[in-house]
Symmetry: C2
Subunit: 247 residues, 2 copies
Amino acid sequence: MSLSPVAKELSIPVIKTACSNCNLRELCLPFGLSEEEMARLDELINVRKRVKRGEHLYRAGQPFESIFAIRSGFFKTDVLLEDGRDQVTGFQMAGELLGLDGISTEHHSCNAVALEDSEVCYIPFSRLEQLSREIQALQHHFHKVMSREIVRDHGVMMLLGTMRAEERLAAFLLNLSQRFTARGFSHSEFNLRMTREEIGSYLGLKLETVSRAFSRFQEEGLIAVQQKHIRILDIPGLKQIMSHHSH
Amino acid sequence: MSLSPVAKELSIPVIKTACSNCNLRELCLPFGLSEEEMARLDELINVRKRVKRGEHLYRAGQPFESIFAIRSGFFKTDVLLEDGRDQVTGFQMAGELLGLDGISTEHHSCNAVALEDSEVCYIPFSRLEQLSREIQALQHHFHKVMSREIVRDHGVMMLLGTMRAEERLAAFLLNLSQRFTARGFSHSEFNLRMTREEIGSYLGLKLETVSRAFSRFQEEGLIAVQQKHIRILDIPGLKQIMSHHSH
DNA sequence: CGGGGGGTTTGATCCATGTCAACCGCAGCG
DNA sequence: CGCTGCGGTTGACATGGATCAAACCCCCCG
């Protein structure tokens, strides 16, 4: 888990993993830390890893030792039931943390798969705990991140428990749009990294239903879809669908 | 939020809130702490409160300052959508923590309502953070508790996203049974504290569907239902239903 | 002891979404 | 450059659970 042999041998100046010069620091763990505190966090995070599209970052059941911060790319997490059913529990993008579910049992409880070529920082958990005993701001921010995950999950439960298909998809698109915006991308135009089936799994729908809902939104002029490319044309319209609870 | 005036005036020896003599300590925050560490945790938890059946412990939007440990009783948490829809996000019993979702925004994100007369310990959050900077075991255990909440939520997402009505109810009953067992109650006989409607809300079903599923289980000899009283007759049978994924 | 009301059960019907199947279209590869 | 195959779209039909409605049961209260 240290620098690659090749890099060592050739003395290639390896880009140092450093929160302090990461452009995602406002979205990620270092949020709110002073320069000096961030330097200490940097010390702890010295492994970066590339994960190619389709590869697993970790699998359910593996021993948990690190959480991961996504530097670039896009992931999904999913859980598998004994009988073969599975469900996507989330999609994660740059600046978000992966692996928090592993803390509870010291084993990962889900699979994390890259949906495009990605890069992550390893954050050894016991060292993170150690540092967060010393840096209050880090501790507090970490707690907020975990709590936010819980709130997010409640939102998904709400979606799965009370919304109809088109409401779910509208909520999903608006959520993506908002997260892309926070990362400086266009809020109205992006490429989906996941298939219709993966969207469906996340939203508790079949892929055909997802596809039909996309078509319907397009007919109504709310979005323009072309395969994985999405343009959002009418954000208020989508919001209205989300809360249009007709029945 | 301190001792009641009456108690003060009459110098009634008020039962001290003390984790060290709470019979739920193995299920609650103090898990794994030494005597001395537990004593320090005791210092921090000096407010207990009774919450009558039907009363709110907190409401969505209120400022967050404490988490709560349930000493006795039974709660539900629910979230409300703007359009009036709501969903029960969980049922909590003795030894479990309430309020973790409030950390992220420093405001509670859901309502917590007592489903029977209950008693909770206030755990001021900033002091908990302070203490967990000093006691590693406390810090680690707290992280595990938050992580467990995330894992639990993923389980509910799975349930809502992939299971059919009877599977959901079977999973729900088995979960309750298991939690009652962990608290030393019968695993096969208990009283539901919530209505059919609340169960339905939690499981993403209508109350009629919940009622029908109960009746079906009874016909098949899996359980005996009489109003809120449940006897579980065939745990393996229920487990089989849960994973019988026929379609 | 006789209402009254909230919670529950049960039946009849409807509808959103699942299922099955055919076809399309783009991307990757020989 | 034309297969080949995966992912996506669309249609026809099936069905699980929602909806609407009625009746029931138990508990509380007068």
